[in-house]
């Protein structure tokens, strides 16, 4: 098997394992990454929401926020893990497509 084929397979395995990145922080009761809090969390931490942060924080509504489907915030860990894998597959597919196109445009032909 060609090394690149093996790497695609490894990528598939890593995608299937990705919910660990969701489950472990929940299990160990870890909160948000430092500097990536929601407005509610900031309100609790410092007693107010900085005005610019409140305004700019609303500038973009991602279609799959936090690697989940919209409206799934209250679902259990099994559902969220499924959404996490779907997000990983979608993200990888898009990234491979875009990078491939850029690479094809830039790379020297026939080498």
């Amino acid at each position: 098997m060609k090394p690149v084929t093996k790497m695609w397979m490894a990528l598939g395995v890593v995608i299937l394992l990705s919910p660990l990145g969701l489950i472990l922080p929940k299990h160990f009761k870890a909160g948000s990454a430092w500097g990536e809090w929601s407005s509610t969390e900031i309100q609790k931490m410092i007693g107010y929401v900085p005005r610019g942060l409140a305004r700019l924080g609303e500038i973009w509504k991602a279609p799959m926020p936090d690697y989940a489907f919209k409206g799934w915030e209250e679902k259990g860990l099994t559902h969220l893990s499924f959404a996490y894998i779907v997000s990983a597959i979608l993200g990888v597919a898009l990234i491979v497509l875009v990078t491939w196109l850029i690479g094809r445009c830039l790379a020297k032909k026939g080498e």
Binding site: V4, P50, R104
Partner: protein
């Protein structure tokens, strides 16, 4: 390390977009000269790996989370300029599709993770491994140290960017407008948690994959990885 929208003021966000545009253009020019057609799949896999690695949030029990980026690995395989393109693509998709990192912060996030990580990592790797034969222990150790150095340098940059905000932008009464924590809090925390925990994950991932690839697919390292 993905700075969300609202944590950086418009001036900081603008500066980093202004810094990134010429860097992206330079990357396109340089990669055009060096990237071979057969390396294109590797570039795509590198970008995809980096994206998925960043989904593995590692908890500090009862505290915050963090993750590796895989940027040093891509830089060792394809060079820092190609790595910059690959990681930029991953970061832009994360921001647009998943709201991981803000769209106003794409410039800053790309500077930290798509420039600082691959360049620091790449030069630490070449400095330590220079002249060592492929598949030697020194190259694996070099990859380990390069991974650790790269992500910690990026954490320092992110800490400075966060920490400058309350000094730059506040109301007359002293309330912060954007990130509320200053340099004395943001820098020690960002750097500290990466020095103590997340940096080791980047180091181990980089070293293990580099070791495996030198043993099983040394041809994947272009002249970049054999210098």
């Amino acid at each position: 390390m993905h700075i969300p929208d609202g944590y950086l003021g418009p001036a900081t966000s603008g500066v980093f977009y202004a810094v990134m545009i010429p860097l992206w253009m330079a990357a396109a020019r340089i990669v055009k000269k060096t990237l071979k057609a057969r390396q294109v799949p590797l570039l795509a896999i590198g970008a995809a790996f980096s994206f998925v690695i960043m989904m593995f949030n590692v908890p500090i029990p009862g505290g915050s989370t963090g993750h590796a980026v895989g940027g040093v690995l891509v830089a060792i395989l394809l060079g820092p300029w190609a790595a910059m393109i690959a990681i930029t693509v991953a970061l832009v998709i994360q921001a647009l599709l998943f709201g991981d990192g803000g769209i106003t912060a794409i410039g800053a996030n790309c500077f930290n993770m798509a420039v600082v990580i691959p360049f620091v990592g790449y030069y630490v790797f070449t400095l330590i491994s220079g002249g060592a034969p492929a598949n030697s222990r020194r190259r694996v150790v070099a990859a380990f140290i390069a991974g650790y150095a790269g992500i910690n340098a990026a954490a320092l940059m992110a800490g400075v960017e966060f920490g400058l905000q309350p000094h730059l932008c506040h109301t007359a009464s002293g309330q912060a407008l954007y990130c509320p924590y200053g340099l004395r809090i943001a820098v020690p925390i960002m750097v500290g948690e990466h020095l103590l925990i997340f940096g080791w994950i980047e180091a181990v991932v980089t070293a293990l994959v580099v070791k495996y690839l030198y043993q099983h697919a040394p041809e994947l390292f272009g002249q970049e990885g054999q210098k």
